[in-house]
Amino acid sequence: MNPPKQRRASLPSKLFLILPALLLPGCTTADLRLFHPVGLVARAEMHYTLILVITMLIIIVPTLLMTIIFPLRYHHSRNAKYTPDWHFSLSIELLAWGVPLAIVAFLCYLTIKGVYAVNPWAPGILANAPGASQPPINVQVIATDWQWVFIYPDQGVATIDDLVVPAGRIIHLQMTSTSNMNGFYIPQVVPMVDAMPAMESKDAFELNHPATYTGFSTDFSGAGFSWMQFSTRVVPQAAFDGWVQSLQSSPSQLTYAAFQKIAQPTVNVGAKPAYFSAPDKNLFNEVITAAMQGVVYPVPDSFTKRVSDNSAQGAQAPASPQ
């Protein structure tokens, strides 16, 4: 009952020489934004991720080694020790169940601790942040098809696709959406949270140094989804105050009627920002209430078919709010 003789697969395995090419992109991590978290929340996420991964490697690495060594060591050509009828060992089984169980128990403890620390609704970790002594900056976020509207209710200004926040303050975000589910995300900065129609969700972060980041939608919402970026600019407090003042005199005001025009399906190619003064005080709640009452901004079939040739100004559907 000898196994059939076979040549070792040496020639095809030479093809594996191509694989080091995969390591090349790893030489620079500049683009791997998740490895460069900023702010307390993102750094906590990275911290927990690293501990979790290292713990997992305790079991993954030896198993991987066994997966490589056993087939080589016990290949039939090597005449290593052979015990064809050995098929059970209580001690090995106890280890096989027990070790993963212990590791998973630790991982569970850690991940539950982590999820409370970065809970987007009220991140535990922000309680001790430097900016915790000052009142938070409130920003209301409305995802439309397919732009982001940021309303600063306390400052009385609003923007499209441009989130400007002062450094060293805690930012509280309230989010909703006009008709589709969108994911709100700024890599390196905040946890990803969905913005949903007829509902309010929350997120929070704090950054201490001026910088610019790109945020975007992470949950597919239709033809203009790929263009749903927005810039996140962290500026010094004084610059923020100046920016607010300059906007407060802007002639275009964000009334509910103006918002209804903006909320029509629009592909904002290049994510070009727009600015408004005097947003309707109740706009955010009105959008939620309207969605609950069944207001939708329909995407006509004809629009999705011609979205390919959208012009540089962005394509917009014919206005027909229901």
């Binding site: 093809l15 979790l52 993954i60 089984e93 008709s179 946890p191 006509p300």
Partner: protein, 687 residues
């Protein structure tokens, strides 16, 4: 309750009109040309060699579990190819549409696919790969092997078995029709809510997706019932539960999962359908609708569905590793326990698919922890395979190579899966290409297992092995291609690239996209070797022995190769867990039965094919809202089922002399051989 439609509707043709044919799209027109040419070649060849009658009598109308299994596998491989082409198109689009200055071709602003077309492609990719590639391949192997491994003549319900197959085919047919008539869904394979509702998706795409999904899940539910009944009721004498091969155990677990989850997704899709057809408000944002309900219902099905596909893969490894290590499977009882643990935990972890939906830390924490528990039984399985190899005599045959790479991929996929299960990490990469890379690692485990299984049991079914040299070239090129495609996706996920993007705004990622595209090129090379492997094996047809690999342990290697259409001339008596290994140890493997008894077998029937065709028409008519045709095809289905229930045909009897003759010249009994016409038995009243 008629819903306002975006566009014209006529009583005769519903929403269907000439404008639904995408003749202005060069990509679809050339695809259509290729499909037509292939169709002409296949039909032409069948006509040329006079095989039309043979194919109809012996295959399409067959109720033989082996033929149904083979047809499932053919369907799976064809759809795998289409799904792969979709994947290649997606990667190419992302490569081309990278950065604001990227050029546009064929009327697209960036790349060569406008967003709407791109969205359909990835929706089709996911739908096809899961329901029409992986599921048929898993169901096909189960059909082929489970009855052989438990020493049964056929499945418990052969006619239902054929119906399952043809319902699955009808779903696949709807997906193919959607290529050339109208459009496919652009709302992702999971059906995003409320995006799939009428206001944001007024076309027929979502309806196509929904009906294809419904039909195939109906087929899968029937198949699950059939498999459970087969395993519970049809085992050969002496095969107690703990003598059953581990592959049968995993089939049992997986089909218990299947039976329990598919009704849930049927409910979810039906509610979406009522929303779209009658204007109700289950999953809308307004009028009290709750789209999070859909997300929950979908993933209550969707997560166990992952294990529904994964457990058979584990079962395949548990057959292949012992055979090619020439050693009994290590830790059989804990393997069984681990399968049931995975299945059980699989039911209670669904919400980890939407950690970002705002469940709060308590629920997120629970679902994180529950998800991590899956790692324990999975780890146990990996250890048991490793200790099966330990002190074995390992041969690197192609199935073993696939099993080994499957194990490596399982470790990578397991590591990244455990990472994702921690919601604190998921907050940073949810819906990113990291997730895509992770679950492709996992489905590649399933893919590796399926390729291993097909190569492993090929000789049993057809009587000759797949060519080993080209099979190994296929293996290596496929593995390298997979790594080239998916390792960059992990990087891209870390770079913050979301999934489902038809345009990537950061041009600095170009090198990674190129590497990934290189992998796609490599996949085409592997496809060449796959074709060459098939060609060389079919050309040479070197006969294989009953125990084709020389170290088989389970019952299916006991009967002839190729396996006769009646499976075993006489039902074997089971004496041990690895029956063949036991017989070999006692020197009994060559002992043949001395006397034969007549065998009762079912007749072939055209009813399942007709039902499949009617189901396709029904799905098509509902998609286009051609009410008269929907009603007519639905009534036709009911009438056909009723007529069939009046059929008194009881199958036929294969006499002992016939069996003896076929046993002596086994070519007569091979599953591809044409069977002589046999008079049908007619049932008589019992009282």
């Amino acid at each position: 309750m008629q819903v306002a439609l975006d566009g014209p509707w006529s009583p005769l043709l519903g929403r269907l009109s000439l404008a639904a044919i995408p003749y202005s799209n060069p990509i679809l027109v050339s695809t259509f040309a290729v499909v037509v040419v292939l169709g002409i070649v296949i039909v032409g060849a069948a006509l040329r060699y006079g095989k039309v009658g043979y194919i109809w009598r012996e295959w399409l109308t067959s109720v033989d579990h082996k033929k149904i299994g083979v047809m499932y596998i053919i369907l799976g491989l064809v759809m795998l190819f289409r799904g792969f082409i979709d994947g290649a198109m997606m990667r190419t689009q992302q490569l081309l549409a990278d950065g604001p200055n990227s050029p546009g071709y064929l009327g697209a602003q960036h790349g060569y696919l406008p967003p709407y077309h791109f969205d359909q492609i990835y929706t089709a990719h996911g739908t096809l790969m899961l329901f029409f590639a992986a599921t048929p391949l898993v169901a096909g192997l189960g059909n082929l092997i489970v009855p052989l491994q438990i020493g049964a003549r056929d499945m418990a319900f052969p006619y239902l078995n054929a119906t399952s197959l043809w319902l699955t085919v009808s779903g696949a047919a709807l997906c193919m029709i959607s290529l050339f008539v109208g459009e496919f869904s652009n709302a992702t394979w999971v059906g995003l809510m409320p995006f799939s509702e009428m206001p944001t998706n007024p076309g027929v795409g979502v309806d196509y997706w929904m009906w294809a999904f419904q039909l195939s899940s109906l087929g899968t539910t029937f198949n699950a019932i059939n498999m459970i009944a087969t395993i519970v009721k049809m085992r050969a004498p002496g095969m107690s539960w703990f003598r059953m091969p581990v592959y049968c155990w995993s089939s049992l677990t997986t089909n218990i999962i299947g039976l329990s989850i598919f009704p849930v997704v049927t409910v979810a899709l039906t509610m979406l359908g009522i929303d779209r057809y009658c204007g109700t408000h289950f999953f809308t944002a307004g009028y009290g609708g709750n789209f999070m309900l859909y997300v929950n219902l979908f993933w209550i099905w969707g997560h166990p569905e992952v294990y529904f596909l994964m457990l058979p893969a584990f079962g395949l490894f548990s057959e292949i590793v012992p055979t090619f290590s020439n050693k009994a499977l290590f830790g059989y009882p804990t393997m069984v326990a681990a399968s049931f643990s995975i299945g059980g935990i699989g039911w209670v972890v669904w919400a980890h698919h939407f950690f970002t939906m705002g469940m709060g830390p308590a629920l997120n924490g629970y679902f994180s922890a529950a998800t991590m528990l899956v790692g324990i039984p999975t780890g146990v399985k990996a250890f048991n395979w490793l200790f099966t190899m330990y002190r074995g005599r390992i041969t690197y045959a192609t199935p073993m190579l696939w099993a080994l790479i499957g194990l490596v991929l399982l470790l990578i996929g397991g590591l990244t899966g455990m990472m994702l299960s921690a919601s604190v990490f998921d907050y940073t990469v949810h819906n990113s290409l990291f997730v895509v890379a992770h679950f492709h690692c996992m489905v590649l485990v399933i893919g590796a297992a399926l390729f291993a299984g097909v190569t492993y049991w090929w000789p049993k079914v057809f009587g000759f092995k797949l060519d080993e040299k080209n099979g190994q070239m296929y293996f290596w090129t496929f593995v390298i291609a997979s790594l080239l495609v998916f390792v960059p996706l992990f990087y891209l996920g870390f770079a913050g690239v979301t999934r489902r993007l038809d345009y990537i705004y950061n041009p600095a990622l170009k090198p990674l996209l190129w590497v990934s595209e290189g992998g796609i090129g490599m996949y085409f090379v592997s496809l060449f070797y796959f074709g060459k492997m098939l060609y060389v094996s079919l050309r040479d047809q070197i006969p294989a022995a009953a125990d084709s690999w020389g170290t088989g342990r389970t019952l299916e290697w006991l009967t002839h190769t190729p396996v006769p259409f009646y499976n075993f001339a006489v039902t074997p008596q089971i004496n041990a867990r690895d029956e063949l290994a036991w017989r070999k140890a006692k020197g009994l493997e060559g002992v043949q039965p001395t006397q034969y008894v007549p065998i009762h077998l079912p007749n072939n029937t055209a009813v399942p094919v007709i039902l499949g065709a009617l189901a396709t028409i029904f799905g098509f008519a509902m998609t286009w809202r051609i009410w008269w045709l929907s009603l007519a095809s639905l009534l036709a289905i009911i009438v056909v089922v009723i007529i069939r229930s009046f059929d008194k045909n009881e199958g036929y009897i294969l006499s002992a002399e016939d069996i003896a003759r076929m046993e002596n010249r086994i070519a007569l009994a091979s599953i591809v051989a044409e069977q002589p016409k046999r008079p049908a038995l007619v049932q008589v009243e019992a009282h």
